[in-house]
Symmetry: C2
């Protein structure tokens, strides 16, 4: 792994993620691919933890994704385990990849005393290199000895690949008068695209929530957080988002995700998910600018999101932003190529506070000098109104720069 | 317009395009945007010429596209005219763009003695700047005086924008024993994407062919030529492909496109279209490598083309090629993200003569040294077999380099 220039949006410090009742963790240097850094993280959740998950929609998923999707459905009365390594994605390694997954799960089951079939496995890194499971299994006794409650920052570091910084978020909420905490970590910088379950993100809470309610909230909130970001339109084979609820806060359980008693929790969960998702796109490979694309006036919300993603993924829009060019012509092009209902002569386009174009032509009061000044900002807001209906969506992206080419023409070599 | 580095695939010389009976043309320096070069081309086709055309599927097309789509359906007994300018695309200029189109057509009708409603107009260049029609109209008398039969190379030059060289092709065929000739020119380098009617391409022949047969052949052949290339996945608002047949070769007319008497003509037309399409992608913005992606074993031809385009458009695949990295893991990713039927463990991948992966894992005899040596080539062949059915498709693309970023972060500024 090369040394990448720190993202201009990297936070000054990693946020303080407090210990959460019911969870313990540790990391290790397993030497899967990287030298002199941790690359293995194990999270142990005590018996009674409810799990919810979302996985990549890529049709060539990794062996760990196949395994974990199945494991999510397995029932257990005992503790459960999440094991993540960086360095290789263990994807497209054929039988070797599948064997590595089984070997890892069985090795962990022996050491940590859990059912192998319930273990959540994830691998992230280069595609096409099978995981040497023994490298992980050899480290499990050490990790089992080191398990502790406050290792979130170390965990976030161990799962990084081309990330330029560790990503974490935390929030608190009340459920029926009981305080609960939500911690999350994530990794991701390239191969970040729409229609996914995200890169890797793990969220833990001590709240007591039914598995059904948990999954329902996760699936709903993923659409406006992890599924609303794009770095390069490429959907990873390993995307995984897990939400674990230990129940040890001792709150009274709300069975249904739509009960008012879960409103505060859902808001806090949304804050953590959105924070992590934005940290990923703000660490997009080679970025210099963070871009928010808001589309309104579309035929439907779904249609608005497609148009917004067409803008957010357009190489010509992204390079114009890198060049600090308020090139709204390319936005018109991206609206039109999305294939969704759009009428050129009803279109209006803003960048930040400036109305650039309305009803199909340049706005009379707009000057290129206004656009040029605005495009120097680090955070660019693009707003498009299609003038057709009530559909609305917001997605998050970054510019396309020489840095992206450097990283991806060199990575793996 | 900046000076762009000549494409490494630029031909040494422009091919010899012979005069074609029934067509005359001239170019001029109208000063629409560029200085010291021609930017206006007028092609005059004599009475009796049949026209066929394909236009952009972008839903925010330019005013010239709206006009020309309508003009294609208009009937005339007189000569017909094609007018193309570079410098501005005359797109998204609202009423000003629409007025410019009408003014251009009326001005030309007066000078050249044709029906305004039948004139084919096209503009290419920056989006959002209305055309000053008077700049074109003022040049029409000069152009009318200069009309000549052998101006194809000058025409190809006048319609260039970010192209690094002029693009032309020619072929001959026989129809019922009579020799006919086909000439074509095209322009395009960026904003080149699937599902289009191409950038700008004009093909002329002296063959006598019915309008219906002409359109049928054009629509069929565009799928495997102009609609099978991609530079950056961005679909232009101005794409236009026109085919004009003057009938002056004097061949006996074949009414139906599928008659055996048109087999030779269709092959020659296909050769010209494919040649021009490949010249466009081989002049892709900033490219260093030309990439052919062949997908077989898909559920259908349509499915194969979607998978091939997913590979050809993936920024991660394109940057890997720029970095001379035989990164087949990214090809697996691109197959999976296409959303078409695919099974990881049936997938095989070749680069040039080398089988890199088969049935879901690295091929036993493949070495990284083989891949590294092959990736130094200027023309890269990627073959993927999905192992599912008989569907097959081939598409053409290029790598994604620093040059693309340079051109598109700077263009317009």
């Amino acid at each position: 792994m090369a040394d990448y220039k720190l993202s201009p949006f990297a936070p000054d410090t990693f946020p303080h993620l407090p210990p959460i009742k019911g969870f313990a963790m540790a990391t290790a240097e397993a030497g899967v691919r990287y030298k002199g850094r941790t690359d293995l993280w194990v999270l142990r959740a005590e018996a009674g933890t409810a799990l919810a998950g979302v996985f990549t929609k890529n049709l060539c998923p990794g062996a760990p994704v196949d395994w974990s999707r199945k494991a999510l459905g397995a029932e257990t009365d005992g503790p459960c385990l999440v094991i993540v390594n960086s360095g290789t994605a263990n994807v497209f390694g054929g039988q070797k990849s599948r064997d590595a997954v089984i070997q890892t799960a069985k090795g962990a089951a022996d050491v940590f005393g859990v059912d192998a079939e319930t273990i959540q496995l994830a691998s992230t890194g280069v595609i096409g290199v099978p995981l040497e499971a023994s490298k992980l299994v050899d480290k499990f006794p050490e990790i089992n000895k080191n398990l502790r409650a406050d290792g979130w920052q170390d965990a976030a570091k161990a799962i990084m690949t081309t990330d330029t910084h560790a990503k974490g978020a935390t929030a608190a909420a009340e459920i029926k008068g009981t305080k609960v905490t939500i911690n999350g970590i994530a990794k991701g910088s390239g191969m970040i695209a729409p229609d996914m379950g995200t890169m890797l993100a793990y969220i833990a809470t001590d709240a007591a929530i039914s598995k059904v309610a948990l999954q329902s909230m996760l699936s709903e909130l993923v659409e406006t957080s992890f599924n609303a970001i794009t770095v390069d339109s490429d959907t990873s084979t390993s995307d995984t988002l897990l939400l674990l609820a230990s129940g040890q806060a001792g709150n009274a359980v709300c069975e249904d995700a739509n009960e008012p008693c879960l409103t505060g929790f859902k808001q806090a969960l949304n804050a953590v998910m959105k924070d992590l998702a934005l940290q990923i796109v703000k660490d997009g490979e080679g970025l210099t600018k963070f871009v928010t694309v808001h589309v309104s006036g579309a035929a439907s919300d779904k249609s608005a999101k497609k148009v917004a993603m067409s803008i957010a993924n357009s190489p010509l829009v992204k390079t114009a932003i890198a060049g600090q060019d308020a090139n709204w012509g390319r936005i018109v092009m991206a609206v039109g190529k999305a294939g969704e209902p759009a009428e050129r002569d009803k279109l209006s386009i803003w960048m930040g506070p400036h109305l650039l174009a309305e009803r199909g032509e340049a706005a009379p009061d707009y000057t290129e000098a206004q656009g040029a000044a605005y495009m120097k900002e680090a955070e660019i807001d693009i707003r498009v109104d299609l003038g057709l209906g009530d559909g609305e969506a917001e997605v998050y992206s970054c510019d396309l720069t020489h840095g992206y080419i450097d990283i991806n023409a060199d990575y793996r070599s």
